[in-house]
């Protein structure tokens, strides 16, 4: 019983990362119908940039994190501008963009493989302190992550519901053609979506690099967990769907990791297939 509580707290920590990646993916998927596999690449790029700037170039940790976020936002925006834009302009559809996105992810993955030859980690002792409540070991860092997630979601909520860009985005989610007709500047909104979503993925990437470390495979892995979270939560309500899905996936990976660690990806993808078959609109859709 006490073990279960421990697994639960691990799951909450994981859910924080997934929530940050998933909400950005959901934002792009729901508004632009782009299945952005390279969202995982953006996540990974931030982690590696953070590592490079802080560990190798010796930048102050906060400054390095901020630069990594900016780099992530820029990379996300450029992927859309340089790759997805031309594919769509030449008559490609959702599947073509998906394939091109896989291509982007392959290129970055091999680049990081050559550069790092494996895991990089920025872990520092201060935030990784643990404290013990009853029989459960808690990490200060997990609380830090959850606080950041709460802040990010709060800011996102305000952005989506209190600004004109947010209104445009919600319009695109419901009906993109109609929004264009009533004067939503689709191109401008699109840039905003990619910048915001990518910096959220970057935030998760920086935290992951700090915590467990980054490997060239982390991008695709985290992305697909985010995808399953989004399919689970549905995109009817982006924020609620992503956080519910991410919490469920955090628990799933924590419990699967505890009871049958060698079947984690089996559990995640089997769940994805079952969801696609029976409830593609998500549990909340």
């Amino acid at each position: 019983m006490l073990n279960l509580l421990q697994v639960f707290s691990t799951g909450l920590g994981l859910a924080g990362y997934y929530a940050l990646v998933a909400v950005g993916f959901a934002l792009i998927f729901a508004t632009l119908r782009i299945f952005h596999v390279a969202h995982g690449t953006v996540f990974m790029t931030a982690g590696y940039a953070f590592f490079g700037l802080h560990r190798l170039a010796g930048l102050h940790i906060a400054l390095a994190a901020a630069c990594a976020l900016a780099i992530a936002a820029l990379v996300g925006l450029l992927i859309d501008k340089i790759i997805y834009g031309p594919v769509l302009k030449r008559g490609g559809g959702m599947f073509s963009v998906f394939i091109a996105s896989l291509g982007v992810s392959l290129i970055f993955e091999s680049g990081f493989l050559v550069w790092s030859k494996g895991v990089v980690s920025v872990a520092r002792a201060e935030l990784l302190d643990i404290f013990i409540v009853g029989d459960v070991v808690l990490r200060r860092f997990d609380f830090f992550i959850l606080a950041i997630v709460a802040l990010a979601y709060g800011a996102l909520y305000l952005w989506l519901h209190r600004t004109s860009t947010g209104l445009a985005i919600r319009g695109l989610t419901d009906n993109s053609e109609l929004s264009a007709i009533v004067g939503v500047e689709v191109a401008k909104t699109r840039n905003a979506i990619f910048l915001v979503a990518s910096s959220l993925a970057g935030l998760a990437g920086v935290l992951t690099a700090y915590d467990t470390g980054m490997t060239p495979a982390s991008g695709v892995q985290t992305l697909f967990i985010g995808v399953v979270a989004v399919i689970l939560g549905g995109t009817r309500n982006i924020l609620l769907g992503a956080i519910v899905g991410a919490a469920a996936l955090g628990m799933l990976t924590a419990f699967a990791g505890y009871f049958f660690p060698e079947w984690i990806s089996f559990s995640i993808f089997a769940m994805m297939i079952i969801l696609i078959i029976f409830r593609p609109q998500g549990l909340l859709g």
């Binding site: 299945f35 030449r90 599947f95 394939i99 091109a100 896989l102 290129i107 091999s110 297939i273």
Partner: protein, 286 residues
């Protein structure tokens, strides 16, 4: 010479995989993103039977063909109700599911991650004989695919892809054709898996990851969708090109990532500039 035989054998194996993938993706319009799963099933069945139970390799190949076809049918059945993009996503998920199955349940020779020690009969024993047999099988598959796509069945497949409603209006169920061609493609891919095991002498789960499925997409994407010659062309061009990278004098640890990056570039280039590939007759519509 040995190495040339090996390359020829490898090319023949992937030609079979590409032909099968083109049947479902190019001709029938089913976006298969997880063909490596069936390749792995074939490889594990053939190598497992041969190495662990001592079954004659010819019989083991036949078993690989039949089992993969059956597995393909069984895995498609629940997916028939979903269409379009979600279908692609589900088949991609299948690839990960099968990887974990190979990894956790796949038989292995003690002290290694996979299976080795195949006992190959005369037709596969020497590298020259192995090449000749594999190439002959690939040629046979090529002819079989050409026959299929030129027959009324082939026309029905293209109708499933382009006008499923018209097919249904004629009283024919598109799903029956999807089931049929998916099983045929799964069986051929499984056969290729058995041959792949004989080519490499060693198999382990890492050969059957999503990367292998993406490789299949690159091959037929470059060669051309809905074209049997395209399947052959893509495989030959890319494997020969890949091989030439080895002679650039790069440190060996850079060759793998470089290939991967080039495949990525190819995928992007194809999607932007030429979605039907070199000699394709259909493009990635969606």
């Amino acid at each position: 010479m040995e190495h040339l035989y090996y390359l020829g054998t490898l090319i023949s194996v992937w030609i079979i995989v590409a032909l099968a993938a083109n049947l479902v993706i190019g001709y029938t319009g089913m976006m298969a993103m997880g063909q490596a799963a069936y390749l792995g099933v074939g490889a594990y069945v053939a190598a497992g039977l041969n190495v662990l139970l001592g079954v004659n390799f010819h019989l083991a190949l036949l078993a690989a063909l039949l089992v993969s076809g059956a597995v393909a049918a069984a895995t498609l059945w629940p997916l028939l109700r979903i269409g379009g993009f979600y279908f692609a996503l589900a088949t991609l998920g299948l690839n990960f599911v099968f990887f974990d199955i190979f990894h956790n349940l796949g038989p292995r020779v003690e002290g290694s991650e996979g299976l080795h020690g195949l006992k190959l009969p005369d037709l596969f024993a020497g590298s020259g004989a192995r090449f000749a047999t594999t190439a002959a099988l690939a040629a046979l598959c090529f002819l079989a695919c050409r026959t299929i796509v030129g027959s009324p069945l082939g026309r029905a497949l293209r109708a499933v892809r382009d006008r499923p409603d018209a097919l249904a209006a004629l009283g024919k169920d598109p799903r029956r054709y999807q089931m049929l061609i998916w099983s045929v493609a799964g069986a051929l891919t499984g056969l290729a898996g058995g041959l792949y095991a004989a080519t490499l002498f060693y198999i382990d789960p890492t050969l059957f990851t999503l990367d292998a499925s993406i490789l299949v997409l690159v091959y037929i994407g470059v060669g051309g969708l809905a074209s049997t010659w395209g399947s052959v062309l893509g495989v030959v061009l890319l494997i020969v090109f890949n091989e030439s990278l080895r002679y650039l004098g790069l440190p060996s640890q850079y060759v793998g990532p470089l290939q991967q990056a080039l495949y990525g570039l190819l995928l992007i280039g194809l999607m932007i500039f030429r979605r039907r590939g070199l000699v394709g007759e259909y493009d990635f519509r969606e």
